[in-house]
Amino acid sequence: MGSPSLAPRRSRWGQAQRSWRQHWQLYLLVSVPLAYFVIFKYVPMTFNVIAFKDYSPVLGAWDSPWVGLRNFEQLFNNPVFGTLVTNTLILAFYLLLASFPVPILLALALNEVRNGWFRRTVQMVTYAPYFISTVVVVSITILLLSPRIGLVGDVDILGDPDYFRHVYVWTDVWQTAGYSAVIYLAALSGIDPALHEAAKIDGASRLQRIRNVDLPGIMPTAVIMLILGVGNMMAIGFEKAYLLQNNLNLAQSEIIPTYVYKTGLINADFSMATAVGLFNSVVNLVLLLTVNFVAKRITGNGLWR
């Protein structure tokens, strides 16, 4: 390292060269994974240009004719578009709202219980559904909610569009709450015990200690998790929404990712599907940056510096 800040610009280049010469094997090691990221992450980003073209597989992405914003105009004028955006946003916000606090509550509660069989059991069991595949979770949901053989009696919950969001969100919480709680448990175990002792001596009740010691202690973690949650908001969803979908609940279950899959790969309208996907990615990025900005303003914690 030395003192790079004092060295002139020229020697930084020299530094790089020395590093390449001395540690060339490290750079060799990185080359294959780096190629992976370029090919499978960055090249697809450039292929987004077909959102502005009339894509023809024969001509390829670069030689297909430009059409400007025509795909987007068509999309925004499509009566389906409003429903798509509403469905996606409502589902995403509902999911975030429900899946953010539950793991925190679970972790706080677990943290109060002394280490013993009860705590271990609750933790092990709530963690386990995370390992079950989406296909299986959806299958369990469908069997559980089926009117004749399930556990809920004679209501066709999955055939009613009004129930779709609740089913989607709460099965998600069921599957991931235990897993996410682990992160908060780690943060809780990092809190200085002296703070708890001091609060005890001051006569603070358990509830007061949770409010004044534990909650502030896990705040930075919670902020990061919230930002990451927003970052995933528009990205997730396809797998489960697509599997839970049926013709009866389509009014609320058709979301942007499922629409992209259907227009793009089933109806082979690549340009339109890419336009929808690009719209989705941009909305997601804007949301993420906004939340990161706000969180940094309020709490001082953000994804970067």
């Binding site: 090691l29 595949s133 990615s281």
Partner: protein
């Protein structure tokens, strides 16, 4: 012998240590907390018990909605027909291949990028890290990625499931943090003094110290491979290559379980069996993951925690 009795005595005295009496309100609070956790536990477990109970019940009992949380008319017929179903067995076999090959590829590539990123002597590691993180924030999207996979000629080959999602950025962060924190700088200096090359240092010094990390990465990737169906749905058309999850989806959600029944009574029975088959299928397909889970849960938890510490 003496040591054993000493230990016993120690234990007894520890449990007999004077208890600080908690205030009444705190004891009430604890009861509420434990009650809440018990309810939560029940909510998580109930669907699973229902599935297992149904899978061991007779087709008739399941179809008339009698089964709740205990098998009715105990039967293993569903399991017999699941475990002899050619489609299921092929799916199992394919998923096994994807899980093993995919894990090997993914762990190797993840270490290959995370290790240099953890080294202070690697020039440009911050730029590289930013490049990786950016892919978490903004992605090319479904169709453009499909086009790349198509152009590489990977459609309808096993590679389509092994390569396009081989490296997880989250896993790279976990691995990098692990390398940076668990290998003391002095060891690198010692290795350099002994004339070891970078690759030799990685192989002989770093990797032997990183077994817990390798276990976590392997587990994460194995589970990913075992559980995904989306890549297969998008990239595969050949049923011979279908992983278990696609087979499950076809049988569980699209109801394509075929029956070779001839007469009506047999057909009725087959129809009833088709439903119970689903329960058994769920159990059989989730079993491998749930069996290894308790053994590796602790490692996994550690991995999650490392990942939670800001990378």
């Amino acid at each position: 012998m003496t040591t054993l009795t000493q230990v016993m005595r120690l234990r007894r005295t520890r449990t007999a240590a004077p208890k600080v009496r908690e205030p009444f309100s705190d004891r009430v609070f604890m009861i509420v907390v434990k009650l809440m956790l018990a309810i939560l536990l029940a909510l998580v477990v109930m669907p699973l018990i229902y599935i297992v109970a149904s899978s061991f019940s007779s087709p008739a009992a399941v179809n008339s909605g009698q089964v709740k949380f205990w098998p009715v008319e105990f039967s293993i017929e569903a399991y017999q027909s699941v475990l002899t179903n050619a489609e299921v067995l092929r799916g199992y076999y394919n998923s096994l291949i994807y899980a093993i090959a995919g894990t090997l590829i993914s762990v190797t590539l993840t270490v290959a990028i995370a290790y240099p990123l953890s080294r202070r002597t690697f020039y440009g590691r911050n730029v590289l890290m930013t490049l990786l993180i950016f892919t978490m924030l903004f992605s090319g999207g479904l169709i453009p990625t499909y086009m790349v996979v198509h152009d590489l000629g990977m459609l309808d080959t096993r590679w389509a499931l092994l390569i396009p999602n081989a490296i997880g950025v989250w896993q790279v962060i976990i691995a990098r943090t692990f390398f940076a924190n668990s290998v003391p700088e002095e060891l690198y200096e010692a290795a350099a003094l002994d004339g070891a090359s970078e690759l030799r240092t990685l192989r002989s010094v770093v990797l032997p110290l990183s077994k817990p990390l390798l276990a976590v990465l392997a587990l994460m990737y194995t589970i990913y491979q075992w559980n995904t169906y989306f890549d297969a749905l998008v990239y595969l058309k050949d049923p011979d290559l279908y992983p278990l999850q696609i087979v499950l989806r076809n049988m569980l959600l699209l109801n394509t379980a075929r029956t070779g029944a001839v007469d009506l009574a047999q057909q009725m029975h087959q129809l009833q069996l088709a439903n119970v088959l689903k329960y058994a299928l769920i159990v059989v397909s989730s079993l491998p993951v749930l069996i290894i889970y308790p053994f590796v849960a602790r490692h996994f938890t550690k991995g999650v925690m490392v990942g939670a510490v800001k990378g």
